[in-house]
């Protein structure tokens, strides 16, 4: 392992997140087992109090998790010159088999934790804890995922040894190479361009349907998730070329560098935030028949849908503007 302050910070963060979520999961488990709203017993009152503890723990863990996602990428970026052949985070992450799984796992846990917070928000609006069971079941799904992520990250970081020969991002995301990341780069412009704009249009249409006629929450959530994947694929396939002004450089990480105005941060933040809001709309849609939520759910859903749409539009605006203003023409 490399004794880098950033690596230590990541280990501290994932240790804390695991601890917080494990504690929250244990409390959630107790709440699931013993919950009986009609009872006025001491136990039930104690459990009701513990719901505050769980939400505080998860909210803090989520915040740390999102920050550590960016810290992880930034640390990988900073470490690249300790590995021969690695030119940015893409190379550092490929140093051992745990790099990319850790990254994907971090993104997945961020999305799920975001959805959890949306459910929690709705739950506190109803007078009778209407979502208590689904919420804590989701938490019990989230906890093992975060623990796995912690383990993956630990394996990745302890497995880092300076000077291991790795592929640089130029070859990893270059044309004519096998592998998942390389396939993304290989997705041709004529395919990705219509797919991206099509998905964006479909998302807007679904948003209109939802906001106007209060229908299709599931569709909207699905399209939000699809938009996240398609947007990342499109970013690697052609948007980043305009940003780098280089027709061969398909790297999703160099966007986070100073040279490109840190444009990667707003791009990934809007994508992540939009996906969380969109998935939240769908998750809430599952519970629209709960009586105590009937009054607040549509407002909450509308607000989330608006956020998802605005964030998606913001992403599209940034990459679109870059595409128009870039001197590169494909």
């Amino acid at each position: 392992m490399i004794q880098h302050p950033g690596i230590l910070a990541l280990l501290v963060a994932s240790g804390i997140v695991s601890l917080l979520l494990a504690a929250a999961g244990w409390q959630g488990f107790r709440i699931l087992l013993g919950w009986d709203l009609r009872s006025g017993s001491e136990v039930q009152l104690d459990l009701e109090r513990r719901t505050y503890l769980v939400s505080t723990l998860v909210a803090n863990a989520l915040l740390i998790q999102i920050l550590s996602l960016f810290l992880f990428i930034f640390t990988a970026e900073g470490l690249h010159n300790q590995f021969v052949g690695a030119m940015c985070a893409a190379g550092s992450l490929a140093v051992n088999a745990y790099g990319y799984p850790t990254l994907l796992m971090k993104v997945a846990t961020c999305l799920l934790a975001g959805v959890w917070l949306v459910l929690h928000r709705a739950d506190t609006q109803g007078y009778d804890y209407p979502l208590i069971r689904p919420k804590y079941l989701l938490l019990l799904v989230l906890v093992p995922l975060v623990l796995t992520e912690t383990w993956l990250q630990l394996s990745y970081l302890t497995g880092l040894k300076a000077d291991v020969m790795t592929s640089c991002c130029g070859s990893l995301f270059g044309q004519g190479r096998q592998g998942f990341a390389a396939e993304l780069a290989g997705l041709p412009l004529w395919l990705m361009q219509p797919v991206f704009w099509g998905t964006f249009a479909a998302l807007l249409a679904a948003g209109f349907l939802l906001l106007r006629f209060r229908r299709g929450a599931g569709l909207f959530a699905g399209l939000s998730l699809a938009y996240l994947f398609v947007a990342v694929a499109a970013l690697i396939s052609f948007f980043c070329l305009y940003i780098y002004e280089l027709p061969t450089h398909h790297c999703p990480f160099c966007l986070l560098k100073r040279e490109y105005g840190w444009v990667g941060y707003p791009l990934y933040a809007t994508l992540l935030g939009g996906a969380i809001a969109g998935l939240g709309v769908g998750a809430l849609g599952l519970f629209r028949n709960r009586e105590s939520l009937a009054a607040v759910l549509p407002t909450l859903q509308a607000r989330l849908a608006w956020s998802a749409l605005v964030l998606a539009a913001l992403f599209t605006l940034i990459v679109g503007l870059w595409m128009i203003l870039s001197p590169l023409r494909l």
Binding site: I2, Q3, H4, P5, G6, I7, L8, A9, L10, V12, A13, I16, L19, L20, A23, R49, Y52, L53, T56, L57, N60, I64, L67, S68, F70, L71, F74, G78, N81, Q82, V84, T124, A162, D163
Partner: protein, 378 residues
């Protein structure tokens, strides 16, 4: 102002006034917190500044240095190799370098003696670095004796003391004519210490290095990127090591913070009880506790960072420079140039604020969910 914002403002207001009411206790907490941030921040900044300095220095270094190895040891390179290497495609320039170390028994330090072809250097004269001048207590125009390989001393006149701006590189440097270097060390003609190579395209360096090894299997090419990587790894390792050592300090601070947050005074319990009977909800009290924690963290973090900045960049990190910089008789005096970015601050935040926040979560929940009647009765 919108009502939710007003609510946050009111709660923040209340948090500030409640912190001020317990001045002594909170000041103690903030000063310990600041100290922890200060120590770790100094470390992180110092390591970053050293890395930055190494980068700046190595910008001027040759792209590649070729040494010759004999029995696993560094040996002089025959000048005949210069032409052969120059003819490799992609090589711009090959410069044979002649240098060595001279141990001075009088003040017990090593000098780096380097040959220079500079026409401004007068015969029998040398240029010396600031560090050499300081240790030997000499100035321009003085004569200094250097003991040759055969024990005979030769007098050299000091023509110039190299300016302080380049001190990190030139502190222990002595520049002299190639013939003087050969005479001083009895260095055979037709050999050089190593070869410095410049290439047009740095991406071709690995290929060039491979070709050189193919041509002369006993040579060892060292790339600038390898030197940089090694420096980076060494500085990171030293910094990381110190952070691990300081981990115990952070841990004891966490225990301290936990203890402070858990031990609610009777007065505080009563206060929360009154708030809750006035209609505050547990969520509001949690928010209040959150703001209190934020105010404390932000104050301590900013103060610690500012102090560390002054410590590292104005006072050259005098508290632990020896542990991190290394040690030598002729060590250059230099002031680090500030090199800070958001990443360092984020790392620092992760190492200090996160543990504190995590440690105070459960105690604040306990405080927030206290029963109003029980609290007021106690």
């Amino acid at each position: 102002m919108r009502p939710p914002l007003q609510r946050y403002r009111n709660i923040l207001d209340f948090a500030l006034s409640s912190l001020l009411r317990r001045k002594g206790r909170n000041l103690a907490l903030i000063s310990v917190y600041t100290l922890v941030v200060f120590v770790i921040a100094s470390l992180v900044f110092f390591v970053q500044a050293l890395k930055h300095e190494a980068h700046e220095l190595l910008v001027q270094a040759p792209d590649m240095v070729v040494q010759r190895m004999v029995a696993g040891r560094h040996d002089p390179v025959p000048l005949a190799q210069v032409e052969a290497i120059r003819s490799i495609r992609g090589v711009d320039e090959v410069q044979p370098r002649l240098w060595g170390y001279y141990y001075d028994p009088v003040f017990g330090g090593n000098l780096t003696v380097l040959a220079t072809e500079d026409a401004a250097l007068a015969p029998d004269a040398i240029w010396i670095g600031e560090g050499v001048a300081r240790s030997m207590r000499v100035k321009e125009g003085d004569l200094i004796p250097l003991r040759g390989y055969d024990g005979q001393s030769t007098l050299f006149s000091i023509q110039k003391v190299l300016p302080e701006t380049s001190e990190l590189v030139s502190s222990d440097l002595v520049l002299m004519a190639p013939k003087d270097v050969r005479a001083l060390f009895h260095f055979p003609e037709g050999l050089a210490t190593d070869l410095a190579i410049q290439a047009g395209n740095p991406r071709e360096l690995p290929t060039i290095a491979a070709k050189i090894v193919e041509l002369y299997p006993d040579s060892r090419p060292i790339l600038k990127s390898e030197i940089l990587r090694t420096y980076e790894a060494v500085f990171d390792w030293r910094g990381g090591l110190m952070v691990v050592v300081l981990g115990s300090a952070v841990l004891s601070f966490i225990i301290f913070a936990w203890d402070k947050a858990t031990g609610l005074s009777a007065e505080e319990r009563k206060e929360i009880g009154v708030l809750k009977s006035l209609g505050w909800e547990s969520a509001d009290v949690l928010l209040l506790k959150f703001w209190e924690g934020t105010v404390i963290s932000v104050t301590a973090f900013l103060t610690g960072v500012l102090l560390a900045y002054a410590h590292v960049f104005f006072f050259s990190a005098s508290l632990f420079e020896h542990a991190l910089k290394g040690w030598s008789v002729l060590f250059p005096h230099f002031r680090l140039s500030p090199a800070l970015d958001g990443y360092q601050l984020t790392v620092l935040f992760f190492l200090t604020v996160l543990p504190y926040t995590a440690a105070t979560l459960v105690p604040s929940w306990r405080a927030a969910t206290v029963d109003p009647d029980a609290a007021m009765r106690s």
